[in-house]
Each structure stands twice: as structure tokens, then as C-alpha cells.
């Protein structure tokens, strides 16, 4: 009887896991099937869509990589990602350390203030920012996104790093200063090496956040050669009303799956960062 109950519980659990996995993963499975299909297989509504009724083909992947601007979008996104990561790290590491250790009581308040900035959605600011970008002469330039994306990434990175710096025992710093290090030097020589994992996590998130961004990229750029993955794929790879579904799906899958793996590696860090406000104030 007890065994039966246990068995029921287990199968209920696996059933629920299966349902959630199915809901989450089905668009990706559909992408992976579609991207290798022949036209005459894909566009026959009588065919079983989940099977290869014709042998799989790499022709659409080839079209995507050699016949479209997809490699350009990929390069643009990489460039923006790297630049934004650098700017974010340079600005948010000192800010986070300052909030965690240097500015004392009102650091807490300022920390919450910075967190609130994170809550201002791009959908509220894209119109004025588009004008700012035009007046700076950065319209249709990758630099417009390099300039503006840190407004999304700095608040969160600062918040996340603040938690890291707070978790490092103060004794370590004090010991370093007794040894003759200055405040600045103890930060560089003692604290920074210890926060390496935090910096790696921030790098990963900053990079993926820039890949995700859609609103600013759509508002700032109108020329194809300067588009990012996020905007370029849905707007450019559709010619008129003709959808190149296999190539589109290939484009989505090529980006989604590697990013998914990276995200999963750093997931626990991300969660720690998100929940810090609740746990530590």
C-alpha cells in the first residue's frame, strides 16, 4: 500500500515535470525540426509536421549563413555585447564597492535608488532617448546601443556585485591594511580577486541582457547593416510577406540554445542577485 502511494507520487511528479518541460521546450523542438526541412515537405498541410517526410537538408542553414545579413547581425550583437560588458564592469564595480563598504549608512538608500532605476522599463524612455541619439549623431550607429544599454545593465550589475562585496569578511581588508595596504590597494589586491566569480556572473548577464534588448535597438537603428540579432532576425529575414521559415527557425535556434546553456550555468548566481533585496535588505 505504501509502495503504491509512493509510486503514485513519483509518477505524478514526473508527469508534472514532463508537462512543464513540454510547455517550455515545444517552440524550440519545433525550431529544430523546421530548420532542416525541405520546402515541399514543410508546406504540405497533410504531412505529419513532426516527421521528416523528405530527407533533411542543410540548404536553409546555408542560405541563412551565406545569403542573408545574419552573420552581420551576429557580429553587431557581439560587438555591442563586448563593449557594454566593459563599460558596465568599469562603472559598476567601483560603484558597488562604494555602496557596500565606503559610503556607510546612506549607501543602503543609494543602493535601493539604483535598484529602482532598474525598474524603469525601456518602453518608457525610448522616445526621448531616440532624440538624444539623433542629436548626438549616433542614429543608425552601433555606438548608440553601446551608449544606452549600460542604463539597463549598470543598475542590476551594481546590485549583484554589492551582494558579493558585502559577503567578503571585513577582517580580510583590515588585515591587508595592517600590512600596510591603502584602502584603494586593499580593494584592488584583496577584494577584487575574491569577487572574481561575481564578475564572471555579471559579465554573463550583461552580455545576455544586451542580446535580449529589443526596444532601443528597434528605435535607434533603421539600416540593415547596423541591426542586432534581436531586431534583425524578425524584421529583416522576412522579405515582404514571404517568410523563410526554415532559415528563421535556424537563426532563432542558433542563438537560443547556446545562450540557454550559458544562462543555466549562472542561474544560481542570478537568482541570488534577484532575491538579495528580500534576503538582506
Amino acid at each position: 500500500m505504501k509502495n503504491l502511494k509512493r509510486w503514485l507520487k513519483r509518477s505524478l511528479l514526473y508527469g508534472a515535470v514532463g508537462l512543464f518541460c513540454f510547455f517550455s521546450a515545444s517552440p524550440f523542438v519545433w525550431m529544430l525540426i523546421t530548420m532542416f526541412k525541405e520546402d515541399k515537405d514543410l508546406y504540405r498541410s497533410a504531412n505529419n509536421p513532426f516527421l521528416f517526410n523528405e530527407p533533411p537538408t542543410l540548404e536553409h542553414l546555408d542560405l541563412l549563413l551565406n545569403g542573408t545579413n545574419f552573420p552581420v547581425f551576429l557580429r553587431n550583437s557581439m560587438f555591442i555585447g563586448v563593449m557594454v560588458v566593459l563599460i558596465t564592469l568599469v562603472i559598476s564595480i567601483p560603484a558597488a564597492y562604494s555602496l557596500a563598504r565606503l559610503v556607510g549608512r546612506w549607501g543602503e538608500r543609494a543602493g535601493i535608488g539604483i535598484f529602482l532605476v532598474y525598474l524603469v522599463p525601456p518602453t518608457l524612455l525610448f522616445i526621448p532617448l531616440a532624440r538624444v541619439v539623433v542629436s548626438l549623431g549616433l542614429h543608425n550607429s552601433l555606438w548608440s546601443m553601446v551608449l544606452v544599454y549600460p542604463t539597463i545593465t549598470i543598475p542590476f550589475s551594481t546590485w549583484l556585485l554589492m551582494g558579493f562585496f558585502k559577503s567578503i569578511p571585513k577582517d580580510l581588508e583590515e588585515a591587508a591594511r595592517v600590512d600596510g595596504y591603502s584602502r584603494l590597494k586593499s580593494f584592488i589586491k584583496v577584494i577584487m580577486p575574491l569577487s572574481f566569480s561575481g564578475v564572471v556572473a555579471v559579465t554573463a548577464f550583461t552580455f545576455t541582457l544586451t542580446l535580449h534588448e529589443f526596444v532601443y535597438a528597434l528605435a535607434f537603428v533603421t539600416s540593415s547593416a547596423q541591426r542586432t540579432i534581436s531586431v534583425g532576425v524578425p524584421t529583416e529575414l522576412v522579405r515582404g510577406d514571404v517568410f523563410y521559415w526554415q532559415s528563421l527557425m535556424a537563426a532563432a535556434a542558433i542563438v537560443a540554445i547556446p545562450v540557454g546553456i550559458v544562462y543555466n550555468i549562472f542561474l544560481d548566481r542570478l537568482v541570488a542577485g534577484f532575491t538579495m533585496g528580500a534576503v538582506k535588505g
Partner: protein
Amino acid sequence: MEENVALKPRGRFGLRYWTDREDLLGPLFLFPAVIYIIALVGIPFLIALAYSVTDVTAGNTSLDFVGLRNFQAILKTPQFLTSLGNTIMFTVISQIIIIILANILALILSTDFRGKWFARFLIMLPWATPIALGTIGWLWLLDSKFSPIDWVFRYLHLLGEPGALLGAQKNLFYLGRLELAKASIILIYVWRMLPLSAVILMAGLTSIPQDLLDQADVDGAGFWRTLFQIKLPLIIPIMSIALLFSLIFTVGDMAVVYVLTRGGPVYYTQILPTWAFYKGIESGALAEGAATALFLFPVLLAVAILVLRFSRRTEVT
């Protein structure tokens, strides 16, 4: 700090002195971040406010004050009212579904089972994918002619034959019929935000002290009793954090509607961001666009107050 003075032999004004002063280093370290945020969030926000009370357009950028005329004007257009209604409806319904499903998913993921890593990978994929690309996947999944969902319904004889449960037509036209299009948009919001909310709640569940659960077990509390009287009350603070993030990401997104329906059929699935984009960027009516986007601000303000109250409460404890 007294003992440090003794450690500094080089006098008050040397480099050594400068690199040791917390009152200087603190603001100095914070300065670039504050400048950046004031310049690119604070000032643009003020510009948005300024635009909304002037007659500025992309062609004529001189700012002439017109008071609240823009707000009066947009409140009369049916497209704006539809967008406002949709924004509220999509957000509220998706958040309710997300918070319920996320609690269930968090409970599941905090138990141990085989292949958990892989299940977690699959479940996290929608959140890790750039939303515009995820939506492209859905666009094809919900295609008017080749949707595999329709194929399954036809295969099960639920669609496409006389007397079938879902109708005699061959397809359901998910994005062409208003109710189904709205439901599809909500579905994608749920699909995207569920993973994040679930992992945040999971963090809340794991932070519940094991002693407490053991004690409840000893006292004879069953699964449901433990769930409703211990676990749920204890994770309510963290639930509000999860809600906060999923709200911000839902309100801050326009890719789903822009890619999936383009606001259609007609304009019936427009939301404030897409309508503001159409007005402010595509038609160059900056003032109206800014005024439209500003209607997101009350939502934002409510969220901010929630966070502030929340952080104050944790400060006390």
C-alpha cells in the same frame, strides 16, 4: 580610523593619504554610475515629461507648451484606449497565471528527481532566449495554415471535419481571431516569465529553515498543511519580488506584440509601448508618443512603492 593615522608616515597630502580617505573614495567610486544614470535615465525621463506637454514632432522639434492637450487628445482615440485596456488586461492575467504556475513549478523543482539538470535547462530556455526570437518560434507554431497544433487537432478529429468539436474549418487562425490572438500573447508572456518567477520562488523555498519543516513533520502536519501554513506564508516576501520582476519585464516588453501580431487584427491587440512606438517613432508624433508611453508610469510608481515598503520592512528586522 585612528590606528591608520599611525601607519601613514608620508604626511597629510601624499598619494597615500588620498587613497586611504573613505570620504573621498566613496563618492569618487560612485560618481561615474550616478552621472551615467542621471544623464541617460533621469534626463530622458524629464524630456519625456517635457515632450508630453508640448507640440513637438520629429519634423518640428521646437518645444511649444500646450498643457495637457496631448493627454486629452489621446484619451479620445480608440486606438489608445484599446492599447491601455490591453496593457492592463495582458499584464494582470499573465501575472496571475505566472504566480500560480510558478509556485507549482518551484515546489516541483525543489524536490529531487532524475534528470533534474536537463529538466531545468528546458524549463529555463524561454527566459534565456531573446524574446524576439522566442516569439518568432511561436509565430510559426501558431501559423494560420501550417500550425502543428492544428495538425494534431485534425489528427485527433477535433478539427477540420463536419461536426468536429473545434469547428469544421481546417485551421483555428490563432492570430487572426481577436480572442485567440489575445490569448496567444498572454500565453507567450507566461511562457517567458514563468521560469524566472519559479527560480526566484525556489530560492525562497530553500531558504526556509529545515528545523521548521522537521518540527512540522514531528507535529504531524501533512503536505498540504505544511504548504499552506508554513511554506507559503514564509515565501510571501519573495513572491512579491518574483511578481515585481515578472511585472517589470512584461510591462517593459514590446517584442511579443510587435513580432507576433503587429497589433492586429486591425489595432485590437496593440499595447501602450507598441502604440507609442507607432506614434512616436514611425509617425514622428513625438509628443503624442511620449504622452502615450507615460501612461506606463503609474504602474511603475506602484511597483516602486511596493519595493520601498518592502525594503523598509526588511531593514527593521
